[in-house]
């Protein structure tokens, strides 16, 4: 591993030094292909972000794949109803590692304006591991681009070996998560206790 200061100094002299890890992460972070699926009005902003004015292609994510087998990123763009939740989890399970999730908008984070309803999942992080949350109702395309850049930084900073290595290099880490079933009153289970550990707020 080369020191950051020495590397910068060499770069100034026209010598490019890198490591396999950097090359690997640079490649991965600049070709994050999202799954083309939307759930509600946030999807309109996601589409706007992919069109000419905001142009998500500048960050290497213009290839929206219609098949989860070819996608790296799931943008949960919109309200996840309890009727839709099993399908969202199933889509995520079908994506190959490495895979990431952006929870886009208030609904995907917490249920948003529909939080007190009987039919809306109160945030997709009850069922799936979310990497980036973007607030907003809906978030502007700039916010989605910011989330994507944040995700790229996260990928670039990943260390490929050791105990903190990313999930796709860790054979023991789970790649699939249980798909909830339709119950008589709610989806069963309503959340994944391994993932969803709410902070206790004492009142």
């Amino acid at each position: 591993m080369i020191e950051e200061g020495l590397k910068n100094e060499l770069a100034k002299q026209g010598v490019v030094v890198t490591t396999i890890q950097e090359l690997y992460n640079w490649g991965r972070s600049n070709s994050v292909w999202p799954l083309s699926f939307g759930l509600a009005c946030c999807a309109i902003e996601m589409m706007a972000a992919s069109m000419a004015k905001w142009d998500i292609a500048r960050f290497g994510s213009e290839v929206f794949r219609p098949s989860p087998r070819q996608a790296d990123l799931m943008i949960v763009a919109g309200t996840v109803t309890k009727k839709m939740a099993p399908q969202v989890v199933r889509l995520y399970n079908q994506m190959p590692e490495p895979k990431y999730i952006i929870a886009m908008g208030a609904c995907a984070i917490s249920g948003g304006p529909f939080k007190q309803g009987y039919n809306v999942l109160k945030g997709i992080d009850r069922l799936l591991p979310v990497d980036i949350h973007i607030p907003g109702c809906p978030p502007r395309p700039e916010a989605l681009l910011h989330a994507l850049i944040t995700l790229q930084k996260k990928i670039e900073s990943q260390v490929l070996t050791g105990p903190n290595r990313p999930r796709h290099l860790d054979a023991a880490a789970p790649s699939e998560f249980p798909v909830p079933e339709f119950g008589e009153h709610d989806i069963v289970p309503a959340m994944n206790p391994q993932l969803w550990k709410p902070r206790l707020v004492v009142r």
Binding site: Y118, F182, L200
Partner: protein
């Protein structure tokens, strides 16, 4: 369009035995409606659709209302002898009205450019006598809306061609729009609760601490 009273008179003449009632409305719109009995509702609706003066060919909206058991208190002034002196005393009589489910239909006429005429149908109670005739054979637009009323209120429409849940999943057992529905307790994390939500979050925590 004719007045509701005129329509009622014509309906009673055309369909013998039909029990019709004009319901008033206290809200600012004061839109009155026609309450039908379930036995003759289909015939009445068919008359309204096919009558040459009305031609109510379009059903724009079907909705449900849940009326739980309610206590109606009537104040009656009664003359009574209190301590030897005759006085007017207000007596409150309380009667319990058993609950029922209601479906409301809004009818318009595209041909005659008038409407709406509002129909109401009621079930016997909220538990086991929840049937009422479906008007889908008369107006195709009722199909999905009656399914929605079935899904959310639990009204069973006899004669509906495809009565299934439409919004919730098939395995779901509750009727979420009924007044006595209780949603699943998923109040683990409420960072900024207030009012009702605060109460629910507190109840959830109390149940968590003492399981």
């Amino acid at each position: 369009m004719e007045s509701l009273e005129q329509i009622k008179i014509r309906l009673e003449a055309a369909i013998p035995g039909a029990q019709l009632e004009i319901l008033s409305n206290d809200s600012p719109s004061a839109e009155r409606s026609l309450l039908l009995d379930n036995a003759h509702a289909f015939a009445v609706a068919q008359f309204l659709r096919d009558d040459s003066l009305l031609r109510l060919d379009y059903c724009s909206n079907v909705t449900g209302v849940d009326w739980p058991d309610s206590e109606i208190s009537l104040k009656v002034k009664v003359k009574k002898i209190v301590e030897g002196v005759e006085k007017e005393v207000e007596e409150v009589t309380k009667t319990v009205r058993p609950g029922f489910l209601e479906a409301v239909y809004h009818l318009y006429s595209m041909a005659m450019k008038n409407g709406p005429l509002i129909l109401r149908l009621r079930t016997g109670n909220r538990v086991d006598r929840v049937q009422m005739p479906s008007l889908t054979p008369l107006w195709r637009s009722c199909e999905f809306q009656e399914r929605e009323v079935y899904d959310l209120f639990g009204v069973v429409f006899d004669g509906h061609p495809d009565l299934r849940r439409i919004l919730m999943w098939d395995e779901f057992k509750d009727y979420p729009m009924r007044k006595d529905y209780r949603e699943p307790d998923d109040y683990e994390y409420e960072p900024t609760p207030h009012d009702e939500v605060l109460e629910k979050a507190r109840r959830h925590q109390a149940a968590e601490v003492t399981p």
